[in-house]
Amino acid sequence: MEAREFLALAMFGLFIGLIFTGFPVAWVLGGLAVLFTALAIVFERDLGLYTGVDWSYSSLVVERIWSIMDNWVLVALPMFILMGLLLDRSGIAGELMRNIARLFGRVRGGLAITVALIGILLAATTGIIGASVVLLALLGLPPMMKAGYNPELAAGTVCAVGTLGILIPPSIMLVLMADRLAMSVGDLFLGAFFPGALLGGLYVLYILGFAILRPESTPVPQDAPPVDWTVVKDAMGASLPAAALILAVLGSIFFGIATPTEAAGVGAFGALLLALIKKQLSWLTLREVLRETTRTTGYIFAIFLGATAFSLVLRGLGGDHLIHEALLGLELGPYGTLLLILLLTFLLGFVLDWIEITLIVLPLVAPVIVNLGFDLVWFTVLFAVCLQTSFLTPPVGFAIFYLKGVAPAEINVPVIYRGVVPFVLLQILGGGLILLWPALVTWLPSMAYGN
């Protein structure tokens, strides 16, 4: 092994090690880029070992940060965040839950199905997992627990559905992936639509099956009112604002009013209007929402900065080359290599979060996939499903964490673990179906573009 390859491996290994110290991930990434530049110089100057990295090379990071600054597509990110926060503050989501729950009140498993449907609606308006999981937990868990639902089913449903937002368009993750791979955001949004719907459908089927096989786990609440016209009307009325918002975002893209990037701004504007109409938005609330947008934007972009520095130095040390060689050197054939990449992504999801994986790993493996002759949109959607699954994987994951933060005491960590396992299996099933039938991804974009 060359000295530089040793440095590349050490850099990656140290990164995994250091993030477990609890020091912020972003600064571990950025700091290691600087430290390993210094190390590379020592190796080359003092030990006479070729590394290919010095201060001049690593200073390209300034130009790379500038490319993040003047990136018009990434403007969508803070706007989606703002939209999600406004949606929460306006109480639209809460109202939706209360009214639709009454609609399904008398169906077995109806409450869990309500949570699933609302989660899918939320997913189509925003792409922020934390917001969805916490909202669904706070709105959906108390009624399910009160009705005597199986706590594992309740927790699993909330976790799994809450992560769908990252897959069902619009989604920050897909915007970021399209940007990293220089592909059309629209292609990815359309490509992810059926896979997202498929997974949502699988969840609902699983809940229905659970309700039929174990009726005692999903009792119909005693006080469920009969479904009459008033209930239907209320449910429809409560769905209207959310539907309007979906229309604002997806519609403005579809009707050519706005680009996908601008649609995020249009969606945030829609959420602002809804909040104003519902008189839920005081000056103070708006101020707080904006500050929270800054904090969330801050931690995401800090990771961007750290990751762009880290991956530049890693690339300079030949890290890319190492991965290419390793993946292709195994001679697993195209599908074997693809499965290996997806498996590694899934495993990485145990320890890294989606931003780092998207920024560091995706650009490394995408060229390999293209070389193998696979469709890049299809692969990226598969990759996204893999990442979405990793939010759910015990021992840890964003979704589990968010749920733990707000769940009632009886929903402890072992309950959540047991609850998400069936949904992780459903994710693997869904991923397998997408793998077998690429048309699930590729059909919609091809239809939309008239060929």
Binding site: F23, D70, M79, L85, V266, A268, T294, R295, F301, K404
Partner: protein, 206 residues
């Protein structure tokens, strides 16, 4: 338990509903080192800057809506407005870096570290800032100076028809943002120092 977590502040973004539940303890045991005579004023300045610059998102929203309206409604897109979008966004996210350190809202993987004592966590933060945070800031600052200067002396403008002039101004946001980040690290370093080496009553166990 959770290894990847967001800070308490980020959690509170979801908070209007969260506040309704009584228990819902914060998932992380908050560790806030004590203020010092110097870090206090620094933190207040950083807080003010973060708060004021948060309005940039509302401005950005307005510019996007204006641009969409002009282009779709009046067939008159303005490249100035397109560029203003990413100018505002860049200012916003660069300002957010230091605000994130000040409010301790950067992502930490604390599955192991949350079991450590506050003293051990303070040591980790101290070494992290000295060995990782500061070198990163120094590196970016050092190399962004010629980057901005070059833009200034060449009187760089946008390469687009009708784009914005004075490009060095937006490029200047990078060193300013990183300098504020370094300042936020410095303030936290002072506080960690006081916690670790200061009066013993500040050193109690969590």
């Amino acid at each position: 338990m959770a290894k990847t977590r967001l800070s308490g502040e980020t959690m509170s973004e979801l908070g209007s509903v969260k506040a309704q539940t009584d228990e819902a303890p914060s998932p992380r045991t908050a560790f806030t080192p004590p203020q010092t005579p110097l870090s206090g004023p620094i933190d207040r300045v950083l807080e003010k800057i973060g708060q004021k610059l948060s309005w940039v998102w509302l401005l950005l929203l307005g510019v996007i809506v204006l641009n969409v309206t002009l282009r779709y409604g009046f067939s008159s897109g303005r490249i100035e407005l397109e560029e203003a979008q990413w100018h505002l966004y860049a200012i916003g996210f660069l300002a957010a870096l230091s605000y994130g350190v000040k409010t301790d809202s950067h992502v930490r993987v604390d599955v192991l570290s949350e079991r450590l004592s506050h003293r051990k966590r303070a040591w980790i933060d101290l070494y992290g800032i000295l060995l990782l945070g500061f070198p990163f800031c120094a590196f970016i600052l050092f190399y962004s100076v010629p980057f901005v200067y070059e833009s200034y002396v060449t009187d760089e403008v946008s390469i687009s028809a009708g784009g914005l002039p004075g490009r060095f101004l937006i490029k200047l946001a990078l060193p300013i943002g990183i300098a504020l980040l370094a300042l936020a690290f410095f303030s936290r370093l002072l506080r960690l120092g006081r916690f670790l080496f200061g009066p013993t009553h500040l050193r109690e166990k969590p």
